[in-house]
Each structure stands twice: as C-alpha cells, then as structure tokens.
C-alpha cells in the first residue's frame, strides 16, 4: 500500500491564517484575582495581548479621603490580602514620617517580626498557587498548611487571621503576647521542613522545571523601565531591596542576604521567593533574640494615641481626648510625604498629602503589582498560550492592590 504522506507537497492543506481572538478571564481558574486578558493567537502562539485590570477596583483612594487618618488601616489591610501586616506597617510608617514620630525600639522589632511572618505567608501562597496551577496540587496543600501555622501566630497576636488592622499611628494596637517568641521558634522550624519537602518534590520534577525554565524571560533594563521591584526584579539580577538599600525600622541591624536570580525567567522568580522565605526566617530568629520583653510598644503622645480604656471610663480628660481622636481624628501636620517599604511583591509606597486636618487630603498608594502586571503583556507575547499560566502565577498579581 502507498504511504499516505507521499504527495503532501501537491495537496498542502489550506489552514485558516487569520489570528483568533480569545478571552481569558475575568473569571478564569488561572487568573488568580480577577484580570482579563484578550489574546490574539496564531495557532498556539500569542501575537498580541491586552491585559485589562480594574475588576476589583473599590475606590480605595477616594474612600481614604472620607474618614480619619486612622481609618485607613482597615483599607490598607485589604490592599495585599495575603500579607496585610506589611501594608499596615507601611502606612503607619508613612504617617509617622509626616508627623515626625519615632516609635519605641520594642515596637520596631515587633513590626519587623510580624512583617516578616507576613512576607513568608505571602511567598508561600504565591509559590504554592503557582505550583497548583501547573497541576502540582500536593505542594499547594502543604504550603497552605504552613501558611495556616503562621496565621495561627498572627491570630494569637492580633486577634484576626487575615485582616488584622493592627497598626496604629505611633505604635501597635497591643504589645506582643508572652508566648510570641516561643511560638515563632516552634512554628518556623515546622514551616521550614514543609517548605523543604515541597521544594524537593517540585524541583526534582522534570515537567515542572521544563514549564518554568526560559519561560517569560525579561531583561534587567526592561524590568527597571517597567518599574518592577521586589522578587520579580531581583530574579533578573538587580539586588534592589528596600530593606537593604534604604533600611527602615531595624533592618540595618539584622543580618540577611538579598537573593537574586540570573536569567529573569519564571524559574528564577520561583526560586527567589523560596530563598526569601529562608531569609525572612533568619530575620524573625534574630528579632526574637533581640526584641526586649519589657517596655512600651506605642509612643506616649496624646495627640495620636488613644488613652487607656480605664482612664476613658474614669476621667473626663481622657473621655474628651478619646472622643476627639475618634470623631475628628489625629491632626497630621500640613505637608506631603512619600514613604516606601518592601512589601510582599516589591516597593510599597504611600504618597500622603495632608491639609492639616484630621482627614487625609490625598492618599496615594504605589502598589508593586500595578507596574509588574503592566509588564505581563510583554512577558507573554510571542510565547505559547500554555505559558500564560506559569508566567502569570509567578508575578503574583494581587487584585486588591493592583486595582486599588
């Protein structure tokens, strides 16, 4: 019998050549958060892509202009809802910079410890979710188990697992519980063993590696021009970390490394996050060793701090002070300030404008995700449709902060 592929040249198949337009999202299992991508495909290759955000827009900045300065904390929680403590601390530092308040040492250590715990939970979520989207469900469950252990600490400390609203202008809502250091030491060991186990499972998996390596590559110059910060920028080899470059709190007194990648591909972004989990653990250990057990966690400044509850119920002065702080808000001096911290995804900036009243005139957040997501279209165009999933997972888009 004659082989059927002999006369291929003569009767070549005419395939339709015009590009196909495909909608991914806004509700799509691979688009964590809600984002819509309109992709133009030729075959399975992406020619053009339009990333559309805004499906989670809640008018955050407009809402902030309606309440008092202290009422922004719950909104800040909901920016990056996997590491809310970092946003709390970032906003508190911004207002304190504008007021010229320096918080006590113990508070600074405490903020660092809680912030690093939040960072670990952020990275665990991102790496776990990314693995899950590529079909590795077990590491996701393990990482979420580890994240839950960290949230147990945060719940014990702040009373809430996720949206803590624990920061205050000039301190924290409460001092660390007596068991805090013990809990950290106990939990971090367990989290580390889970991370190591999950890592072993993923990084020895040929399929997983093949789907990440050399996928979604970005150059250093492009990443900087796109305004990338955080693990995504460090994966390209730029060692920019706000904690090292412009230390705030006590980051200049602790010893930690800034892990960087080499190629700027999806694999590097994955590995940088895993390495940062270990560095954050190192920081928490050092903080636990150095944080004093005694001393105030808030400044003694009646202009911004609420008086103790017993005094509110027993003296008229404290009642008036409490009333004025709650109803009019703490008065923040007239001026403007830009304060930046290292959030879960990169530089988290707050640009505050005050007209001297108890209500913010303008609160502008600089969410790290916004710039990173603006670069996604460049990362995925030219690639395969199936690469969208790992690339989008690795940039860790958080709808809350990206869409304001």
């Amino acid at each position: 019998m004659e082989p059927i592929d002999l006369d291929l040249e003569e009767g070549e198949l005419e395939l339709p050549a015009e590009p196909m337009r495909l909608n991914m999202g806004p509700s799509h299992p691979a688009m964590h958060g809600t984002v819509r991508m309109v992709v133009e495909l030729s075959g399975e290759t992406i020619d053009k892509v339009d990333v559309q955000i805004g499906y989670l827009h809640r008018g955050f900045e407009k809402m902030c202009e309606r309440g008092t300065w202290a009422q922004v904390f719950p909104y800040a929680d909901r920016l990056n809802y996997v590491s809310p403590m970092l946003n709390n601390v970032g906003y508190a530092l911004a207002v304190e910079k504008l007021c010229g308040i320096a918080v006590p040492d113990r508070c600074q250590w405490y903020r660092m410890a809680l912030g690093e715990l939040a960072r670990i939970s952020d990275h665990l979520t991102c790496t776990g979710a990314m693995a899950m989207e590529l079909g590795a469900f077990t590491p996701f469950l393990w990482f979420v188990k580890a994240r839950d252990m960290i949230w147990d600490i945060l719940e014990e400390e702040t009373g809430a697992r996720l949206t803590h609203s624990f920061g205050r202008i000039g301190g924290m809502a409460a001092p660390p519980t007596p068991k805090f250091k013990e809990m950290c030491g106990f939990t971090l060991g367990k989290v580390l063993s889970i991370v190591e186990e999950g890592e072993k499972m993923l990084l020895k998996n040929r399929i997983f590696i093949d789907r990440l390596e050399n996928v979604g590559v970005i150059s250093q110059a492009d990443a900087i021009s796109l305004g990338w910060t955080g693990p995504c920028l460090r994966a390209t080899g730029v060692d920019y970390d706000v904690r090292k470059a412009h230390p705030y709190l006590k980051y200049d007194e602790v010893d930690f490394d800034v892990p960087v990648g080499r190629r700027g591909d999806t694999m590097d972004r994955f590995l940088v996050r895993l390495a940062e989990i270990r560095q954050s653990m190192r920081i928490v250990e050092q903080v636990c060793a150095r944080m004093p057990d005694e001393g105030p966690v808030s400044v003694d400044d009646p202009r911004v701090m609420l008086p103790p509850k017993e005094a509110v119920y027993s003296t008229i002065e404290a009642t008036i002070q409490h009333f004025k702080l709650v109803m009019e808000g703490a008065k923040v001096p007239k001026g403007e300030v830009y304060s930046y911290t290292e959030g879960g995804n990169g530089e988290l900036g707050f640009y505050l404008v005050s007209d001297g009243s108890g209500t913010p005139y303008r609160v502008r957040i600089r969410p790290p995700c916004f710039s990173i997501v603006s670069g996604v279209s460049q990362l995925i165009s030219g690639g395969m449709l199936s690469d969208v999933v790992p690339v989008f997972g690795s940039v860790n888009m958080i709808g809350g902060e990206c869409d304001h």
Partner: protein, 197 residues
C-alpha cells in the same frame, strides 16, 4: 544627598524650575508643564542623575487653585540610590477648568504607559501623544473622574439599574448609594461643582 539633583536641575533648566524644597527627607522640584518632558528626559539620561525608574505617577486635585491639577512623579535611581519628586501644575484655568493636559513621558519609561492611563482615568489628566489613552480601572461607560475633589464620593453609576423595593419585595434602605455623611468624621471638608452652588 538628593539636594545635588535639585541644584543640577536649577542650573540646567533655570526658570523652568518654579520652586524646589526639601521636607521629611523628600526633595521636590516643581517644573513648568512645558518643560515636563524635557526634564524627565534629562533626569533619565544624564549620567549623574540616571533615574532609570519611574516609581509612581499620580494626580492631586486642588479645586480652589487656578491651575487645579498637580501631577506628581516619584523617580528613583537604582544605580545611584537617590530619589526625587517631580511636580507640575496643569489645568487651563481661563478657558475651561475641566481640561487638563500634559505631555506624555511613556516614551521615556515603559511603566508610564499604565501610570498615565491610571492618572487619566482617576484624575482626568489628558496625556498628549500617549499611545493608548484608555480607562484602566473604571469601565469605558463611566462618566467623570473619581479622584477629582468635586466628584461626589457617594455617587454610583451602575451599568445595571438597582432594583426597586417593589421588585425586591423588601426594604432596601441600606443599599448603596449611602447618604453623603454616613459614618463620616466631623470637620470634613467637602467640595461641590461650581454650577451646583
């Protein structure tokens, strides 16, 4: 440290730099809208400045002032580790206070593409020569610019009309839009459109 940047800007651009100040460790230069793009280009390309990163760009609305809109950019140099805040005041006060235009810097920094779209969407600054100036956070049918002070915070523009109480069969007094002062702090300033006064 970034005082150096301000000095250099003043010697290079002279009268185009309207004012400079430093407060809380942040250095600020206010420039004329005409020189906006030239200053940005200079700050990125000059080897002593090398601001490779546009960290942030936003608009701040001052309805009481004559050029009503302030466009604020925060620049950062990764190689030199310094920062500067660049501001300009725009708004054609005489002709129509609604029109606010500025040159786009999206050819200088790639991130300016989305940041300018956001500033246009939220504050209504129209960036000239922007490649693709669409709304980004709000939907295309949305009317107005929510972060302008005269946009009422309680205003809602639903694409699908809210149901009435008859349709729902239950009282709906707690559905949006809420009252303008519900849950608000005392002494809050509000702004209204001039034609409504």
């Amino acid at each position: 440290m970034s005082q150096l940047v301000l000095d250099r800007l003043k010697t290079r651009f002279g009268a185009a730099i309207l004012e400079t100040h430093s407060a809380h460790g942040d250095e600020t230069a206010v420039v004329t809208p005409e020189s906006w793009r030239a200053v940005c280009q200079f700050l990125r390309d000059d080897p002593a400045m090398s601001f490779e990163m546009l960290t942030d760009l936003c608009g701040v609305d001052f309805p009481d002032r004559l050029p009503r809109m302030e466009v604020v950019a925060h620049l950062y140099s990764i190689s030199r580790r310094h920062r500067v805040r660049l501001k300009t005041r725009v708004g054609d006060a005489e002709l129509s206070p609604e029109t606010v235009e500025l040159d786009s810097v999206s050819a200088i920094w790639k991130t300016a593409d989305w940041l300018e779209r956001e500033t246009f969407d939220m504050s209504g600054v129209v960036f000239r020569e922007h490649p693709d100036l669409r709304r980004i956070l709000m939907y295309p049918e949305f009317v107005g610019h929510p972060l302008r002070k005269d946009y009422p915070a309680q205003k809602a523009q639903p694409l699908v009309e809210y149901r009435t109480e008859e349709e729902a069969g239950l009282p709906l007094e707690k559905l949006a839009p809420f009252g303008p002062d519900e849950g608000m702090s005392f002494g809050r300033r509000t702004y209204t459109r001039s034609e409504e006064n």
